[in-house]
Symmetry: D2
Subunit: 381 residues, 4 copies
């Protein structure tokens, strides 16, 4: 566990290597956080959920850091407004790295002296996965910052966001029947993946390959963004209010469509897998095509049939609790359950997802208009 | 069908009898519409979906009424902004009643001459149910207008909003198994109730009686509105932003709690059935009590076991399409499906619901923060 | 004074004769009030500033009316939010007329028994002028309601909003020198017109005739609304945000420009005097023409040279206190002085102004983007 | 002129020496700009108003910088939204310093080869004063960033914001009469200080010393922020909406009042000169004290009688053009005149003002609710 912990901490810091100092600071919109904040918040998590709890002599690195770096845990005291994260030039980046070292060392020591403390290990495991989630958020947020900067800075020229997907539009059939859903067996899972339970599915077909950029251009050229019958009412208001007419990182240039990626702004590749669309766009596209999105249960049952396409895949399922779901006691109960309304489940994992983080029962979730996560579309009928 | 049509039209007008002319005009918030508008919009529905379609010689009552009285049908042309409904003093109420008579007569004639026209009859049936929905909306909206007027005007002193519910807090058990869900058999249903399909349910228990005002006061007095662990994150933001601390029509007076009803402002009766709470409050209450809300499938399977309590009952289920759902072609396809995101299903029917309108498979839906519909809470475990 | 009082009360009611009952109720935007509210508020003014003060036995007509009909007097207790005025269907119009009669009678009696009470008479005079101001507001507000109703209802077919202005674009010269400004001599004036004081003016020229519709069309056709160099920075933001491209009641139809007036929607008459422009538009137009707006002092000194054009005329002067200005004690001190920031002075009087209300020293004031008052433009150089 | 230019450029860079790199980037509110942006914008000014105009062979440092660093000149092409200034991590600070050097060198060369080019020199002089204005803005903005950071970082421990004012509350009398106002004689001035003209003033008295913190605490303790009769209507709305109850940088701590300054957070010194109040607070305070604020003309005539107190002093005067004011042609005409509405004039100069920048005829201006400039209060009667 120590090794996994240290590896995770180091990997977070490795993600920062291509950055200039200024890149750690900015927050262009509320849902994006500065890299500096992610570095600190993931340390705060270990500090308040583990170090202060399991080591009575532990001293906070700084008394005011819990106020600065709590994200949304109401039961962990007051916190700065989310919109203020990008307004703080101090603590400096160097200070944050000192804070990280302090926490990493303290937790390593704690683990060394308590190698078999079951409760401790189980929360450390959550902390590690929590940090992996923020590793993906760091990349998502940097992509947003760079992709909305008129200079289109490059994060890393060789960063590959593509799927290895073969052009395969075959359909896999799944028979109707009772299936077991949710985490069972060994290995880590979040509370929202439990309890495992039976679900009855009607027969359905699901496509092997994810939707490509080329397919989505056909939708645009057919007037997809202008036909109200394809859209949910709230989606229609959204595309009007936000002036939406293409996926998030597409740009219409004189010479044709371009797409921004962490490796820079490049001509759009039609064979590449579509990404950064909202649920609204995914659903409108599917309807235009004559199909629909899968439910999260259909996805989970069919997932060993198709090739995962390195995108988070929108499902039709709302993010609600499984039968017999029990949320964790205390502040950790705020981790997942309080978001179980008004959001849609995404399944899979993206090119920005850290290794060993997602799984076939993992339930990611976002509001239906969000698209700065690397989301794609799988068709079902 | 003519009889049912005429009866429905007359009943709408009967609902207006207790009103003074000024009451037909006001729109205090966007989601409330003036009675005058409801009277006209229900006529517009028959005019544009039926009269102009099945009677080639039909002349619109006034050329600009479709612009004024279209609610949300993008495919039926431009329309006035929803927030402007309460800004129009003209057409006068008398003009609107003339419009109603004109449409009622024209449709009666059409039905008389086409007694067996299946498509016509089927859309008229939708139109009748559409008007019944607006009958409930008229009462909901008037309750909102009067309940937010510092003078607390009385709609009708004898209007009874109470349930006949016995104090019965027994629990009914439902076994796990495969159940059939959705409309099947004869009789009218909306497209969102189809197709009937099988659903596997875990074993659960559901309470016979709805939650009462007395039970909810215990929640308030125990600090329910102040404990963040009971609330969804968006709910917590909502109660803070809107300063929510009791159900919509409750008022804390010097002499204790009062509740506004269409029969006036009266001391709160603790034995009466709770109403006008949001999904957020329903879910927080259930969690505080150690229970949960039913899914819409659990509700539907159990509904013949318990006494209906004359409230729309919040379920945990998000409003999404049933398997193999097909939305209607053209503008009628906008009726239901475009709202299938970000809303919760309510089941049952309220003291304001028109007779012969709801059924055991009827799916009502509202955003989770809404509470001007007469919504209540049924507990499950 | 009794005669003037009764005449004023009656005239207010006469203004309502062309209305249908629904017209008394609506409030399409915050700055417009329902006629019903004006009828009540002008009665409230007499009730709280005079009747309760000078008649110890006076009983309020209804205990909750002061809450409903206070406009902005912080020192006169709580009041309903301004945006709620159009949300109240009750008290009914009939009730409001009863309220008016009650107040009119009570005040008549009070005056009859105190014919020489100087303080009483002086506040009654303010109350009469206050009601005259609201007579103009009733017409302004009805014009807004009707002019924004897609049916363009007519208030009164014979209502004449035009000036009798001859086409006279001569310039009058005023010599530099010391001039006396502000109210002096007999007759009523508001506190903001005092104290009379000397002002030194540079030489200037002022045009005899107000700007006409025809002149303003030239501005539009020359791209006046699209040249940022003509506009104040806040004006430029305003025309963009509100999509402003012509005066308030102009409509571009297929057959040319139309203008809405209380007598209905009619083809624009190029010789008529321009009205319903904001200060921003007035200033941009003047700059485009190579001139400027007068200061309020220039206007006051020159006003006996030119023909008044029945428009409120924008001046360049900000609404600030005169030297040695003393605001009234108590709540009446809120009447004028608390608005002495961020507003511009208008001089003159409009076709909607009640007789015997305005004068050569009267200082009207509005925010620079407002234009539902009948404002026009006089050029200076 | 070269010397003055180079000295100004260097001084701007000297102001940055106490900063850490992160401090150059953040923009906590719209009206505050990142230091990085100020460094670039002042270079942009020289580039587009001078270098591209007077040197035909000049090449822009980077083609997209004009888009990034234009502040508000509509006639100089498109520009980034003001709220986005703090969202850009690139160009990096190092790049901006390179840009500055490039521009500084190019302009030095240009001046060297055109030592007597009158038009060139006159715009360079404006550019120098423009940069001095931004020097003050840099300090104002850093003070805002640090003063709103929970860690209250120190800019420079020895930075002195205090006035040397003796406690002197004597009143100076000015006789009524005709006075000459506005810039005349030699030396630089902005267009808004012209033309010099005569103004007639009534007799008045003006206080020698500015209002102190101690005097303002009396206002607070007497309930000044809670008495609506002291406030303008818009001020009353503002203190409610923004929850204002003390000057901007005051903090009520357990041990008493503290004040944040560029030298850090320190106990409030009652003898120090009040700063960072809005016009609204200045006017309410003056009224509470039984006095008023001076007009800008009174200030200008009396300014050689009293000791300047190192604060920008609010006047009662609205920012409007002087008689016979002519704005500059082209884009430089946007510098001052387009802000001549809805703002108040401030006179004097602050402890953050660069040397040789302000003068007795200088007209500073801010919206009446603004208080991040170092504004104080001088009383008049």
């Amino acid at each position: 566990m120590i090794q996994e912990f240290l590896k995770t901490r180091t990997f977070t810091e490795d993600l920062c290597k291509p950055l200039q100092l200024e890149d750690f600071v900015v927050q262009p919109v509320e849902f994006v956080s500065p890299t500096k904040w992610h570095l600190a918040h993931t340390s705060w998590f270990f500090e308040v959920f583990i170090l202060t709890k399991f080591n009575k002599e532990y001293e906070l690195y700084k008394a005011d850091y819990p106020y600065l770096f709590n994200s949304y845990y109401e039961t962990k005291g007051n916190r700065m407004m989310k919109t203020d994260r990008g307004n703080l030039s101090r603590p400096s980046l160097q200070e944050i790295f000192n804070y990280r070292s302090y926490v990493t060392n303290a937790l390593s020591n704690l683990l060394e002296f308590n190698p078999n403390h079951h409760e401790l290990l189980s929360i450390v495991e959550i902390g590690i996965h929590h940090e992996k989630q923020h590793q993906e958020l760091i990349l998502m947020d940097l992509k947003y910052c760079f992709g909305h900067n008129p200079l289109f800075p490059i994060y890393e020229g060789s960063f590959d966001e593509q799927s290895s997907q073969e052009k395969n539009q075959d359909w896999h059939s799944i028979k109707e029947g009772l299936y077991k859903i949710g985490h069972h067996g060994k290995g880590f899972c979040y509370d929202n993946e439990t309890e495992a339970h039976q679900v009855f599915l009607q027969e359905f077909k699901i496509r092997d390959g994810l939707v490509t950029n080329g397919e989505f251009i056909e939708f645009i050229e057919d007037g997809g963004y202008k036909d109200p019958l394809l859209w949910h009412a709230e989606a229609w208001d959204w595309i009007y209010a936000e002036n939406i007419n293409c996926p998030l990182y597409w740009r219409k240039m004189e010479e044709g469509w371009s797409e921004f990626a962490l490796s820079g702004l490049k001509p759009l590749n039609l064979d590449h897998v579509l990404s950064h669309v909202s649920y609204y766009e995914a659903a409108a596209f599917a309807q235009w095509k004559g199909y629909r999105l899968p439910t999260e249960f259909e996805w989970e049952i069919a997932q060993d049939k198709f090739t995962w396409g390195k995108r988070w895949e929108w499902t039709e399922s709302a993010y609600t609790p499984y039968p017999n779901y029990k949320k964790a006691a205390g502040a950790l109960g705020e981790y997942n359950s309080k978001f179980m309304v008004n959001q849609k489940v995404l399944r899979g994992g993206s090119a920005l997802t850290s290794s060993n983080h997602t799984s076939k029962t993992y339930r990611n979730f976002f509001h239906p208009h969000m698209r700065w996560q690397q989301s794609g579309v799988r068709l079902t009928k």
